[in-house]
């Protein structure tokens, strides 16, 4: 394992002998082991169906492993993997944005902040700041259907950072974007990592996207194969 810019050696994410069976028999993850240190930017690569998304779902506590242990920031998700964890400890970015189409950009960013005890003015200030950071100033009142694909994804990233989580989990965040938008989103991930020191685990098919990470982790058949060279391709 290597640590990149701004990372410390303390593990942010530990997956130990994680097994996930679908329908009780089909293995999606097979005794998977992975450690990501604080502040590290890790790209997860592998062919479709290799288990990248399944791993991210388990790390996001959206699903539970069949066996094995997942520890995030020193806490076992079997006991701490609840909505509070999803609200405070991680940010989630999906390939298809998963924004609420009837709410405008400013409101979409504020959704995760509801119920955190943050005051209305503070929520508004935080949301406006994030939109500005994502280059979406002036688009606050626009609803997702009126934004371009790249803008939607940047909005989704803004939402994922709403509660200043220490970890960002991104599942194919550039999968549906044109090349210009991809570059802009990648630049954002770089900045988020550098300026906020956020630990990032990003699943992608794209070697170019993976190349911005500190480390690329290859997956195949629910297991991990590490590679030190992001430019190596062909696995996906």
């Amino acid at each position: 394992m290597s640590s990149g810019n701004g990372s410390s050696e303390a593990p942010a994410i530990q997956a130990i002998d994680v097994v996930k069976l679908f329908d009780g028999v089909v293995p999606a993850l097979d005794l998977l082991n992975l450690t990501v240190v604080h502040g590290e930017f890790v790209a997860l690569m592998g062919p479709s169906g290799c288990g990248k998304s399944t791993l991210l779902h388990l790390l996001a506590a959206l699903d539970m492993p069949t066996s094995g242990t997942i520890i995030v920031n020193g806490r076992d998700l079997r006991t701490h993997g609840n909505e509070r964890y999803r609200r405070r400890d991680i940010g989630l970015v999906f390939q298809l944005h998963n924004l609420l189409p009837h709410l405008n950009a400013l409101e979409n960013v504020q959704i995760p902040m509801l119920g955190t005890g943050m005051g209305r003015a503070e929520r508004l200030r935080q949301a406006q700041g994030l939109l500005a950071e994502m280059g979406l100033s002036g688009k606050e009142k626009m609803t997702p259907p009126r934004l371009s694909g790249g803008e939607r994804q940047r909005l989704a990233i803004a939402r994922s950072l709403a509660n200043n989580p220490p970890i960002l989990l991104a599942d194919e965040p550039t999968g549906s974007l044109d090349s210009a938008s991809v570059e802009r989103v990648l630049e954002l991930f770089r900045r988020i990592r550098e300026e906020r020191g956020v630990t990032i685990l990003l699943a992608t098919h794209d070697t170019h996207v993976a190349s911005i990470a500190d480390r690329i982790v290859y997956m195949r058949d629910g297991r991990i194969v590490e590679s030190p060279r992001p430019e190596v391709s062909g696995a996906c």
Binding site: L62, E83, R86, R87, H102, L114, G115, N163
Partner: protein, 372 residues
């Protein structure tokens, strides 16, 4: 944006469906309000007959379908008067007649003139009728104004023509809209010799009224005493039936509205499965999700209640114009009626949203996110 602000936003996102559900709730609430006002007002009108005058309580025939059908023999009046606790009693014959299309329910009260003071009658113009007069009548001041008749004018009731000799006030709307004439004359025209409808009882100071009522009813099994509105069903079964129908309508309206709310919220929960998955994925708790769904249902129901109350008010105005109820239906809009409507609306929301909310709460975020 706040959590509470999100609720109307979500409701307004589906304007047509929310409006239709709100309208269904409004129809149900309209029924609750209209029936509530109608029942309450009819009850008040009927009880007004019993509370005319200054009596401590009233006696009528037990178990009649309508209080005006109560029939008591004048000998019973004398028997009641013999109780030592009683200061005085007034036996009154009540008859309802149709004067014309504008006054289909006009009351005639037959009272001996020497009992007028005991009954609380004040002569405001003219003089009282004499005991054996066959062509003298007094009008309540409201009736006088309404009919545009005054002392010395003539009035024809059915085929009988009377000279108005006095205008009275009894301090009670129902009585002041009526007429009074000698008891014997009304007994003659109504072909009810020796008969009265009600006995108004005034007791001596310090009398235990409940004990006296109980004693009278024990001694006279065919009589019922009435002191409060809740006693009324014992002498007017029609009104008891209307009250029961009112209760039934409220319950039916509750379930009708609840089914409408449930249908809408269930469809909403199904359609918004992915949205709920997103909310759960970004950290919303099941409780918050359920609160949002319940809030939406409550908002629709309350909006329906407001519209329904307005419709109920309009329905009462229409009913008030019906010739069948002119003269005896005076709508009273009480807090209890509106409270019941609000309670039914809230009940509809909670009953209707219960199952959809449970479904929303049980959604697994990952499954919900995969929902197309």
């Amino acid at each position: 944006m706040s959590f509470l602000g999100l609720i109307p936003r979500n409701v307004l996102t589906r304007k047509v469906r929310s409006s239709l559900t709100g309208f269904a709730v409004a129809i149900a609430i309209m029924m609750v309000v209209a029936m509530g006002v109608l029942t309450h007002s009819l009850r008040q009108t009927a009880i007004s007959v019993l509370q005319t005058g200054k009596a401590d309580f009233t006696i009528a025939q037990k178990g009649t379908s309508d209080v005006l059908y109560s029939s008591l023999d004048e000998s019973q009046v004398n028997r009641i008067a013999a109780y030592p606790q009683i200061d005085h009693i007034v036996g009154v014959l009540v008859a309802a007649v149709a004067l014309d299309s504008q006054h289909p329910f006009f009351l005639e009260l037959g009272i001996p003139p020497d009992q007028l003071a005991n009954f609380g009658v004040q002569i405001v113009a003219g003089r009282p009728y004499t005991a054996d007069a066959t062509d003298e009548i007094m009008l309540g001041y409201r009736a006088s104004s309404d009919l545009n008749k005054t002392v010395a004018d003539m009035i024809t009731i059915d085929t009988d023509t009377y000279r108005i000799v006095g205008i009275f006030s009894i301090g009670q709307v129902f009585g002041d809209e009526a007429s009074m004439l000698p008891l014997t004359q009304l007994q003659t025209t109504e072909r009810k010799p020796g008969e009265v409808t009600l006995i108004f009882v005034t007791v001596k100071p310090g009398t235990n009224i409940p004990a006296l009522r109980s004693q009278i009813e024990q001694d006279n099994p065919g009589l019922a005493t009435v002191q409060t509105v809740s006693d009324f069903g014992r002498v007017d079964r029609n009104l008891s039936l209307i009250s029961a129908a009112n209760e039934g309508v409220s319950v039916l309206a509750l379930f009708m509205g609840a089914v409408g709310v449930m249908n809408t919220m269930l469809m909403s929960v199904f359609e918004r499965t992915r949205e709920f998955g997103i909310l759960r994925a970004v950290g919303w708790s099941r409780t918050r999700l359920v609160a949002m769904v319940m809030g939406e249902a409550l908002l629709i129901a309350l909006a329906g209640a407001v519209v329904g109350t307005g419709l109920g008010y309009a329905a009462i105005k229409v009913i008030q114009q019906l010739p069948q109820v002119l003269g005896f239906f005076h709508p009273e809009y009480t807090a209890a009626v509106f409270g019941r409507a609000l309670g039914v609306a809230v009940g509809m929301a909670f009953l209707g949203v219960l199952y959809p909310a449970i479904r929303a709460a049980l959604l697994e975020p990952l499954e919900a996110l995969r929902h197309e």
